[in-house]
């Protein structure tokens, strides 16, 4: 495979955000890095279907998102005739991911349905517009908006935030104290 240097640079430049997206989606660093690797392999194998001049990053995000969703569906099928081992996997995921100060948030995020989680991350962290997020997820703009809203209100419930003061520097400080 001959990789055009400009393609290589664009792909590499997208890796940090692809990893952040994958880790936020899956809650697991190792699984996320495998997802990113699979994404890069698929992208380079199908580079001819990328339209030059369009958003390379959005294209890569779409590939990663679809890989994650098909893996998720596959796992869910396994769970349905399984023995709850996937639930165990889910439970252990927050520990495997990096920083203790984000653990509470990450745990709450993992409890969101995947369609709400991906919409919230794309719009709230990756910096995509509602329109771009809709394109990446293959749904209507209005659907993305309502998923983001539901994700936000569910997170507020899960984190049992009663006032904005409950959820800020104090919590972060406590997390640091636990860490040291």
């Amino acid at each position: 495979m001959k990789i055009d240097p400009s393609v290589r640079d664009a792909v590499l430049a997208a890796v940090p955000s692809l990893r952040a997206f994958a880790i936020s989606l899956s809650g697991n660093v190792d699984r996320a890095d495998d997802l990113v690797q699979e994404t890069l392999l698929r992208a380079l194998a199908n580079i001819d279907s990328f339209q030059p001049g369009t958003n390379m990053s959005a294209w890569l995000f779409t590939i990663l998102r679809n890989l994650f969703r098909s893996e998720y569906r596959k796992r869910r099928r396994e769970v349905e005739d399984g023995d709850g081992s996937y639930a165990e996997t889910l439970k252990s995921q927050p520990e495997q991911s990096s920083r203790v100060e984000f653990e509470e948030f990450r745990t709450a995020l993992a409890k969101l349905p995947p369609d709400q989680r991906e919409a919230l991350i794309l719009v709230g962290a990756s910096g995509f517009s509602y329109e771009e997020a809709a394109e990446i997820c293959g749904c209507a703009v209005g659907t993305i908006k309502s998923r983001v809203n539901r994700a936000r209100s569910r997170l507020a419930d899960l984190l049992s935030i009663e006032s904005a003061d409950d959820f800020g520097p104090d919590r972060a400080t406590r997390a640091v104290l636990v860490e040291s």
Binding site: M1, K2, I3, R8, V11, L12, V15, P16, S17, R19, A20, F21, I23, S24, D33, V36, Q37, L40, L41, L44, S98, R99, F102, F105, R106, L109, L120, I121, G124, A125, S126, R152, L155, A156, L159, I161, S163, A164, F167, G168
Partner: protein, 71 residues
């Protein structure tokens, strides 16, 4: 079993007695701001880690396969 907190009668619900409270809408906005900040902090922490070597190596290996230098 947790007991339900006794609710004050509506007649004693005088706003002044609770001091300067945020309106629900303001509180909602503040909470949403905090959630947004947490989400971005978690995300940006990973972005800040840059490109791990395994991905640089992966692209280098793929590129080389074409030159017959498959390793």
């Amino acid at each position: 079993m947790k007991r339900k907190p006794v609710r004050r009668g509506a007649s004693s619900m005088n706003k002044a007695e609770f001091g300067p409270v945020h309106s629900e809408a303001t509180l909602g906005r503040e909470i949403q701001t905090k959630i947004g900040e947490q989400l971005r902090a978690m995300y940006d922490d990973v972005v800040g880690q840059g490109v791990p070597d395994r991905f640089v190596d992966l692209l280098r290996r793929l590129d080389k396969q074409d030159d017959g230098e498959r390793q």
